[in-house]
């Protein structure tokens, strides 16, 4: 409990107080029930709010890249623009398409949103801000996030539209390919960290982030993860499934209203999820910057709440992803697959081996300089 004095702004203080208060007056079953509901509501709300913030941020940042103003009419600095857009999308008619497969057409967006929601639940936002802490967290995230592709394929298939179909097929090829690279890059770090549990992984990075700890090998894995993660989110230069100059809107051409909103939301959240997984696995997650022996410095750093650290690091990665998206032209499908199968995957396989060697021979930074890192 001494931690509480040093970290007065942590939300975990609030949650543990709430937990204690509930347990004081209710039976175990009811306490858990109320807490589960609360967690679910908070996660759902956070999901929507983060998406809104991301949409606003992307517009403003893009405007900055493109010598424009971005939204600046609704609210101060256009702050309410994405809220207004959300309300608009909620009110819009959902258009039914003739000769489409109604059931699959209706179900497809849910696959997409559920997959990203499930992944979102496993992200450690801060100390104690972690809905579920599996001992196989990395595996779970990789597995669940790949469910989304089913939604894309179903959407393309059921729309009865040739553009959608081409978009969905591209998406399938792309997702399956890049999922491999992303998985291998995460495995590289699992080898280094020796655990698949996010909380343990973060704890292990207290004095040395994984990206530094495994030096060469970690940096390669980090770059590969960013590329393949970016590709998985279907955003430029990997936005072939919805390449608007070729396929108008790709797999979601025929969707309107809230159904389209789901795809849109999931796309933004996937960007956030990829960045947050990268933060957790490579950049020490919510752990503040700590240095061996600098007690005063460490103390000051821990005053900054962990969720600020987490969102700060994630924001840097998101900015990076936006920067890439708005600078590069789109790849062609064969170039995309070449990049994955001829370059990223072989490099990745060699990289895992390299990491194993580094770990076994004690060449990681923590092994080499135990007093420093």
């Amino acid at each position: 409990m001494s931690l509480n004095y040093s970290q007065p702004l942590e939300i975990s203080n609030l949650t543990s107080w709430l937990d204690a208060a509930l347990r004081g007056c209710l039976a175990e079953f009811w306490v858990l029930l109320i807490e589960f509901v609360l967690v679910a509501v908070v996660l759902l709300a956070a999901y929507a709010v983060i998406a809104l913030i991301l949409i606003y941020a992307e517009r403003k940042i893009t405007a900055f890249f493109q010598a424009r103003f971005g939204p600046n009419r609704v609210g101060k600095w256009g702050l309410l623009q994405s809220v207004a857009d959300m309300i608009k999308i909620l009110l819009k008619e959902i258009i039914k398409i003739n000769r489409s497969d109604r059931f699959l057409f209706f179900v497809a967006p849910f696959f997409m949103i559920v997959a990203s929601m499930l992944t979102f639940g496993a992200v450690p936002f801060g100390k104690g801000l972690h809905a579920i802490d599996f001992n196989i967290g990395v595996l779970y995230v990789t597995a669940v996030s790949s469910l989304g592709i089913i939604g894309v394929l179903l959407a393309g298939w059921s729309s009865n539209n040739k553009y959608s179909m081409i978009g969905a097929m591209r998406s399938g090829a792309q997702f399956v390919s890049y999922e491999l690279s992303a998985g291998f890059a995460l495995m590289t770090i699992v080898v280094l960290a020796g655990t698949m549990q996010f909380s343990a992984m973060i704890e292990g990075q207290r004095y040395c982030w994984n990206i530094f700890n495994g030096h060469i090998s970690s940096i390669i894995a980090f770059v590969i993860y960013l590329i393949s993660g970016h590709a998985e989110t279907n955003r430029g230069p990997f936005d072939l499934p919805e390449a608007e100059s070729e396929l108008t809107a790709g797999y979601h051409t025929e969707y309107s209203g809230l159904q389209f909103g789901f795809f849109y939301l999931a796309e933004y959240l996937n960007m956030f999820i990829i960045a947050s997984i990268a933060t957790t696995v490579f950049l020490g997650g919510y752990m503040p910057i700590q240095v061996h022996g600098w007690e005063g410095f460490n103390q000051i750093m821990t005053y900054i709440p962990t969720y600020i650290w987490f969102f700060g690091k994630t924001a840097v990665l998101i900015f990076l992803s936006l920067w890439v998206r708005w600078s590069f032209p789109r790849l062609r499908i064969d170039q995309l697959l070449n990049l994955e199968w001829k370059y990223l995957l072989p490099i990745n396989l060699v990289n895992i081996l390299l990491m194993v060697i580094l770990v076994l021979t004690g060449l990681t930074l923590t092994d080499l300089f135990p007093g420093l890192f």
């Binding site: 893009t62 890249f65 493109q66 010598a67 424009r68 040739k162 553009y163 081409i166 591209r170 430029g236 230069p237 936005d239 072939l240 390449a243 608007e244 100059s245 070729e246 108008t248 708005w326 600078s327 590069f328 032209p329 789109r330 790849l331 062609r332 499908i333 064969d334 170039q335």
Partner: protein, 543 residues
């Protein structure tokens, strides 16, 4: 040219040769193909470029004028004329096997004048629906809207083309061909599509991601400008040209003014020539900036698109200050220009030149060497020089295939013989060559403006021109270098205040006609990229 006359007499002894504005040869329909082939294969001076194919209702007969020129020297021109008196079932011989560009032009002539061409592989109507009643450009056309009512019913597209072929023993056979095979996977790119740059319709047969065949449907915004012009006086026609290729509005209008001035023998004041040339070059930079922007956008780089628009804005502001218009700038009139330059014009333009140069460096750094961009442009959409000539693909695209086809060099007009500039030619023939050509042409245009901007002489901006112009009887041609290639105007006058027949040569139509050739076996995403590199403008095709 004496050699050519000799050649004509040797090939077709009964041809009628006249020395009008151009050397004009009239032959009977049977001999036209032979003569055209002789011209094309003439080793000394091959007349291998079909610039115009103009259908004319001459009253007693329906005829076609062909303007041929040499691909090595565009100023060597000859006009072939032929015609048929059969108004019920007019038939002429196709020259599609000699000049590929004739294909779409002959289909256009069929749609608008009803002349069918023997041996053209695909005799569907271009621009008009197959069930359109009447032929609009005939003088006896009935424009009553009840004959061709506007229907709200959707019409199925029939992929079957009629044709007439001549067998070896001289018999004419009418039959039909299927455009696509039965099990082709066809997607419609257009008429409403973000990357066709307008209402263009490409029916595209795909094999997976690979383009097998493209069928071009055009005419969604056909406004019948040539027909409308026949009822309007020359000053009234002027504003139509701005609405063809709206991105080279000023240059198109320059072309029409030149044609009328040549016919009416009006001397354009020196000052007006300077203003015209400077405005033309500004227009070219504006158009090339937009073309660059659109091409990058077609390849998926949205930010580059905005950068191109940003530089274009500066030029549009200069236009606006000069004459009030930004896109459709209404500057040229017969005899000169409508508005004089404003006080700070020279200052603004001189400030723009170094600004644009720094931006060209930025474009180069930002996109020209991007590894993804190179992968999407180098060796994609290859157009050989022979094909460029056969399809009459001019402008930056033709010069990207190694064909020197700059009208400003070959047939200098306005002040182009007084300024020094390079004709940018690349021999690769791919998308990247076309891309680089445009950027380099911006630099050349800046160079031209630099030489002129300080020397604008004082004087009138417009010659005295009668409000109602009557052009003397005859046929007049003018050719100018628009942003997308050669723009041409043909006027046939019978001494009235309105033209008897007016025809615009559209550079974009030639660009689109080459699309099925160069996109074959490319990926569908490269089809879009190649379209961006060709940079066609749809209203220019549809007219």
């Amino acid at each position: 040219m004496e050699n050519i006359k000799k050649l004509i007499i040797n090939t077709v002894p009964d041809a009628v040769i006249e020395d009008k504005q151009k050397l004009t040869v009239t032959v009977v329909p049977d001999k036209l193909h032979l003569l055209a082939k002789t011209f094309r294969d003439n080793a000394a001076l091959p007349m291998d470029t079909l610039v115009y194919l103009i259908g004319v209702d001459r009253g007693e007969e329906l005829g076609v004028n062909y303007l041929l020129c040499s691909s090595t020297d565009l100023s060597k021109e000859v006009v072939l004329k032929t015609g048929t008196t059969d108004r019920e079932n007019p038939l002429l011989y196709s020259v599609t096997d000699l000049f590929e560009t004739a294909h779409y032009n002959e289909r256009e002539v069929f749609a608008l004048l009803g002349i069918r061409f023997i041996n053209n592989p695909d005799m569907r109507k271009f621009f008009l629906n197959g069930d359109w009643v009447g032929y609009p450009l005939r003088k006896d056309y009935d424009a009553n809207p009840e004959i061709n009512p506007v229907t709200l019913e959707s019409k199925d597209i029939v992929d079957i083309a009629p044709r007439i072929t001549e067998t070896a023993d001289g018999e004419l056979v009418e039959d039909t061909v299927k455009i696509f095979e039965d099990d082709d996977y066809i997607i419609n790119i257009g008429p409403q599509h973000p990357s066709t740059h307008g209402v263009m319709h490409f029916r595209t047969a795909l094999d997976g991601e690979i383009v097998k065949k493209i069928d071009v449907h055009s005419g969604y915004i056909h406004r019948g400008i040539e027909k409308l012009s026949e009822g309007l006086t020359y000053p009234q026609i002027l504003h139509f040209t701005d609405r063809l290729d709206y991105l080279s509005a000023n240059i198109n209008r320059h072309g029409l003014c030149m044609c009328v001035e040549k016919a009416a023998e009006i001397e354009v004041p020196e000052r007006a020539q300077y203003i015209r040339t400077i405005m033309d070059e500004l227009n070219r930079i504006d158009s090339h900036c937009l073309a660059w922007a659109c091409q990058t956008n077609d390849l998926g780089a949205t930010t580059a698109f905005i950068y191109g628009m940003r530089e274009r804005e500066v030029i549009l502001d200069i236009f606006e200050k000069t004459c009030g218009g930004r896109l459709i700038i209404n500057q040229n009139v017969v005899g000169g220009v409508m508005f004089d330059i404003y006080a700070d014009f020279q200052k603004d333009v001189k400030a723009f030149i170094p600004y644009m140069r720094t931006k060209l460096v930025e474009y180069d750094r930002f996109f020209s060497h991007n590894v993804i961009g190179l992968g999407r442009m180098v060796s994609i959409g290859n157009l050989s020089k022979e094909d460029a000539i056969s399809y009459a693909v001019t402008g930056p695209a033709g010069r990207g295939s190694g064909w020197s086809c700059d009208i400003r060099k070959h047939i200098p007009y306005a002040l182009y013989d007084k300024v020094e500039f390079k004709e940018i030619i690349r021999t690769e023939g791919d998308s990247y060559a076309r891309y680089l050509n445009r950027l380099d042409e911006i630099e050349e245009s800046l160079h031209i403006i630099e030489q002129l901007i300080d020397n604008i002489p004082a004087g009138d901006i417009c010659a005295k021109v009668k409000p109602i112009l009557r052009l003397p009887e005859g046929e007049y041609y003018s050719r100018v270098e628009a942003c997308r290639g050669e723009f041409g105007v043909f006027i046939e006058s019978r001494g009235d205040k309105t033209p008897y027949r007016l025809k615009f040569r559209s550079p974009s139509m030639a660009l689109v006609s080459a699309m099925p050739l160069i996109c074959k076996n490319e990926k569908i995403s490269d089809f879009i990229g190649i379209g961006g590199s060709m940079d066609y403008v749809i209203p220019d095709i549809d007219r």
